[in-house]
């Protein structure tokens, strides 16, 4: 009895974490799930059906395009940057500078980031004005910064540094001995890259890209500050449902949209798990 208790005590350390999961993950998910299937205090499919409304389908599409493209762009460019950085010694000043800069940029977002872009290349931004005055070039056209292309550009500002941070440890894990072994066996640089590096890094790369996707998919404040008209993406549609002063009584539609977002992320995680299982088969 005492031995069993003794074995349980380390598990006690988990209790705060489990409580945290319960309150901030499980409970909200249940609230969303139950709320999605209700209207006026009763079970109803109205809000789930409303998800096929053209404007919400369009927002879903824009959200997926935005998150997908910034995850890929951020993933590829961030991996390249990480590759360049990892070639330097860990004590190198440039490397430390880039890594700490990435740490700061990856956490920059929200109103301040959006405003920085607006003030720089917005319709009356400093750079826009300069190009107009000196080169007579209309950088902004009719305002693409405030639509999907602008969101992609601004999101890359935090996606690329985030990729560097999460991908760097994987690159550091590549041991020099593996390269030496490959070279000894007569592999060319290209063969080493495609047959050793790529398979080794694929799970980490895909995992990081998935993280970037989820990061962009759920990002709200930056988009809210940049695009105040038309609610083009799902998180902004949720705000519209919750706080509109004009179209009332759409709180449960907001729950349904939140549920849709949970489902999208779940699908992508399942796909990722399947991919990982395939790519990791040779490791067993």
């Amino acid at each position: 009895m005492r031995a069993r208790l003794g074995r349980l005590t380390p598990a006690l350390g988990l209790v705060p974490f489990l409580l945290y999961l319960l309150v901030f993950l499980l409970v909200p998910t249940l609230v969303v799930l139950v709320g999605s299937f209700q209207e006026g205090g009763r079970f109803s499919l109205t809000n789930i059906r409303a998800l096929s409304d053209p404007s919400i389908l369009h927002a879903l599409q824009e959200s997926v395009v935005l998150s997908g493209s910034t995850a890929l762009l951020g993933g590829v460019l961030g991996a390249l940057l990480a590759w360049l950085v990892v070639g330097l010694s860990p004590t190198n000043v440039v490397r430390r500078f880039v890594v700490s800069l990435c740490g700061a940029f990856a956490q920059t977002g929200g109103v301040s980031l959006a405003f920085a872009w607006i003030a720089t290349i917005g319709l009356s931004g400093v750079v826009t004005q300069w190009f107009d005055d000196h080169l007579h070039v209309q950088l902004m056209g009719s305002g693409w910064l405030y639509a999907l292309p602008g969101l992609i550009l601004v999101y890359c500002y935090f996606q690329i540094p985030l990729m560097v941070i999460v991908f760097l440890p994987a690159l550091e894990g590549l041991r020099p001995q593996w390269r030496e072994a490959a070279v000894n066996l007569g592999a060319s640089k290209w063969q080493y890259f495609t047959q050793v590096v790529v398979p080794l890094l694929r799970p980490a790369f895909l995992g990081s890209v998935l993280l970037l996707f989820a990061n962009a998919f759920a990002a709200y404040a930056t988009a809210a500050a940049l695009v105040s008209q038309g609610s083009p993406i799902l998180p902004l549609k949720i705000r519209e449902g919750l706080t509109s002063e004009i179209v009332l009584g759409r709180q449960h539609l907001a729950y349904a949209i939140a549920l849709e977002m949970v489902v999208v992320v779940a699908i992508i995680m399942v796909l990722y798990a399947l991919l990982l299982r395939r790519s990791a088969r040779w490791m067993r």
């Binding site: 917005g122 009356s124 009719s142 038309g230 919750l242 002063e245």
Partner: protein, 372 residues
């Protein structure tokens, strides 16, 4: 349903535990006259103003919500109230929307952090009248009857006209809405919010509709106007804030005249015009939460807001207080401020709730297409 309400309360309780240490005390236990004050429909019910004041002082606190300090002078109004009565005002979520006020009242019901009073936009106010406690302030009779519910369930508090604010140092003078389509305003015109969400933006589209042959019943010409504005490259889809205005990102802003007027204090070249071809008025709604944790303080707050002092404070923020006409006649209004309000000519249009609902439906279907 049960699950949902339990979990919502649990989440709300957790998030509020940090805010108020005494969050679990039932509201009626911290003051003797609580139950009496909660049903009082006038100061007389409590034995007159001095009894109301002492009951409110005993409660010691007042919870307000969604009152931005720069909006209609609320910062100074709260300060003046605290100074006059020594009652602490807890101002929650100053930038929240009207619907957030109602959500907070429902989620925090029965807790002493729930809002005591509301200041709401029209559609939210009229959709939730079952949550209010009727109350008639001492100045009740001088409030025009079209601006109040006959039982005192809600009373309009202050209002204004839809206006165009512009930085006269950056753009040419504006007198009509059609001016905004000119090339001089390229990339410069902003609307305060999305009209499917924010009352001010909604009224902005109604104004554009009136200026282009539409009416409160037909908002389509307004949407077409903004679509043209967008095609001309003149429309900036950024939410205007004091920061964007002062830094010159939004040199032209369509908004209520009082919020635009407040900007002039920071930026002297900021001018405000109410276009004569499209006069749209809107009033906000004041109401007391029927489950107010500080029922006497809530009633005293209303008395203060509708007193000459409270009304003049709103006026100082550029808003038109609801008792303005009566006060002008009685000579109690702050005349210099009253005369400084933007000039308005023509019959103002106030969309009814039915018209708002119809227009909201049209906007839901067409707005995002028009501006993207």
């Amino acid at each position: 349903m049960k699950l949902r309400s339990v979990t919502v309360v649990a989440v709300a309780a957790l998030s509020l535990g940090a805010v108020s240490a005494c969050g679990t005390a039932p509201p009626s236990s911290n003051n003797g006259g609580g139950t009496k004050a909660a049903t009082a429909t006038s100061a007389k019910d409590l034995g007159g103003m001095s009894a109301l004041v002492s009951a409110a002082k005993k409660e010691g606190q007042l919870n307000v919500i969604a009152l931005p300090p720069t909006w209609a002078n609320y910062g100074n109004i709260i300060k003046a109230f605290q100074k006059k009565y020594g009652i602490k005002v807890n101002s929650a979520q100053p930038d929240a929307a009207s619907q957030d006020e109602i959500n907070a009242a429902k989620q925090l019901k029965g807790r002493d952090t729930a809002p005591d009073v509301f200041d709401l936009g029209q559609s939210v106010a009229l959709a939730n009248t079952s949550l209010y406690a009727p109350y008639k302030v001492q100045e009740w009779d001088s409030i025009p009857s079209q601006f109040k519910d006959a039982n005192g369930t809600w009373v309009n508090d202050y209002g204004g006209y839809m206006s165009i604010g512009y930085d006269s140092a950056k753009v040419p003078a504006i007198s009509h809405l059609s001016d905004l389509l000119k090339p001089a305003y390229k990339g410069k015109v902003a609307l305060n919010g999305d009209p499917t969400q924010a009352g001010a933006a909604f009224s902005g589209v109604v104004m554009a509709s009136l200026a282009n042959g539409g009416s409160a019943d037909d908002i389509a010409p307004g949407v077409t106007f903004f679509s043209k504005l967008k095609k001309a490259g003149n429309f900036v889809p950024v939410d205007p804030t004091p920061a964007t205005i002062e830094s010159g990102q939004t040199p032209v802003v369509i908004d209520w005249d009082y919020t635009n007027a407040a900007e002039t204090a920071q930026l002297p070249s900021w001018k405000v015009v109410v276009p004569s071809e499209a006069v749209v008025a809107g009033y906000y709604f004041q109401a007391i939460n029927k489950d107010a944790p500080h029922p006497a303080a809530a009633r005293l707050w209303e008395e203060f807001l509708y007193s000459d002092q409270g009304q003049n404070l709103w006026l100082a923020g550029g808003a038109r207080p609801v008792r303005a006409d009566a006060m002008a006649k009685a000579g109690t209004i702050d005349k210099s401020k009253y005369d400084a309000l933007p000039k308005v000519t023509g019959q103002p249009v106030v969309p009814t709730n039915a018209q708002t609902e119809k227009a909201a439906k049209y906007l839901s279907d067409n707005w995002s297409k028009a501006v993207s």
